[in-house]
Symmetry: C2
Subunit: 263 residues, 2 copies
């Protein structure tokens, strides 16, 4: 009830909201919310976009979307589930580059060389949409706002990586895990999922690898956070019980406490 009330209220604020909502729903159906959500695409444009999208049957844990070195053909949008991207090395080691949740796009780094420089592996049963890039590009030539949206999307990816760069460069192990958990929280919330209660589809090993920490350190931190009543952790299930404290922990060490000021 409360939900209906607030949504009808917000719809009354602006005319735009109504058509926007329609697009949002259309996009959700075609799993392209990430591409068209923040944008004034017309329903017709959305439909055209929809025609080039390929939906695949559900993938399972361990399946690959693509391997490092593969020719770049498509962007992939996560519909449900989760995917990790990683740079494999000849000897079997690997560097985890990211975890991708519903609504997020994979493959943006491959456009330049026309080949994937990382691999993408499914972490749990996952639904994916495939967007053939050449067809997308043709489309974006005829739809200026789609082009603009694509620029924004790529720019956003850059800004996000910059954030991550900052994280790995300066922050303590504690800050890294807190930031990681808050990042998951915020991203899940954006998709209407619980920001405090979620399932970690990746192993401690993968978290550590991603954050530049040893497995043991990650494990110890989970234990400590639990003791400090910041969260309840059981196996792969996490419930954040004190978001404010986590935020404070991250905010408290922006740059000055970890690195001396520049002249």
């Amino acid at each position: 009830m409360a939900g209906m009330k607030s949504s009808s209220l917000s719809a009354m604020h602006e005319n735009k909201v109504i058509s926007f909502e329609a697009i949002r729903i259309a996009c959700r159906n075609c799993n392209l919310s990430t591409l068209c959500l923040p944008l004034g695409l017309t329903p017709e444009d959305v439909e055209r976009l929809d025609t080039i999208v390929r939906r695949s049957r559900p993938l399972h844990r361990g399946d690959y979307l693509f391997h490092s070195g593969d020719r770049f053909r498509s962007l992939f949008v996560v519909k449900t589930g989760s995917v990790k991207t990683f740079a494999p090395s000849p000897e079997g080691g690997e560097q985890v580059l990211g975890f991708h949740l519903p609504g997020e796009i994979i493959g943006l780094d491959a456009i330049e060389h026309d080949a994937h420089s990382c691999s993408a592996k499914v972490l749990e049963t996952t639904a994916i949409c495939e967007v053939p890039f050449s067809r997308f590009e043709e489309l974006s030539v005829t739809i200026p706002s789609l082009q603009h949206q694509m620029y924004r999307l790529l720019s956003k990816e850059i800004a996000q990586e910059t954030e991550m760069l900052l994280l790995l460069g300066k922050k303590s192990a504690e800050d890294r895990l807190a930031t990681f958990l808050l990042s998951l929280s915020h991203r899940l919330q954006k998709r209407g999922l619980s920001p405090t209660d979620f399932y970690l589809s990746m192993s401690r090993h993968e978290i550590g690898n991603y954050l530049g920490l040893a497995v043991e350190t990650v494990s110890r931190l989970f234990t400590r956070f639990h003791e400090e009543r910041l969260l309840v952790v059981d196996r792969k299930h996490v419930r954040l019980t004190d978001l404010d404290a986590l935020e404070a922990m991250v905010q408290a060490t922006p740059l000055e406490d970890c690195r001396r000021r520049l002249p």
Copy 2:
């Protein structure tokens, strides 16, 4: 003489090279080589691109291209000199995000929010070209190959940041400085400048901040590299005397020696 010979030889290999060369020269004049170099833009397109570019008078050490929070209006291309970008914090601390050499573009991360999230400060006397983004976007709608090039450019930026992410996440202080020096070397070489002999326009402080290291560590590493005959360093001038050894140092620790293998 040797230079003439090799360039005329390469021109004979493919017809494309000739027009390509013409474009390259045209681009060098308008400082847009980064934007149009790797691409089949027609001379007419280059000219159209040229009309929207604004050249500014030389900037001097300490000048700002933009401040964090400024409205995003233009991309900036470094013609000569160098620029650092950094995220300032209220208390006066800052996080160096990158150093930008001739031919490189600044501001790609600001497209999404339509505002700059970092500041850009000139490190030495520097010539800059300004590309108003809205006009560029209009142009890229009418020139599909320009759009493609922009996608590639943004994608490249993402891939580069991923590399950096890998560096900060796992590698030792030694690897970080070696990677940093090699990165400068390669980027200078791409612009036809000496890959072994160059001037560090940034302070040790800024290098350390960028690489996630303390100033003292950076200083000690320079001393050690000097002792190990990897380079000759005098104040801000560096000459890399053993590129192979530096490359080997970085290659030797791709991922496996710094972090345990994933299962």
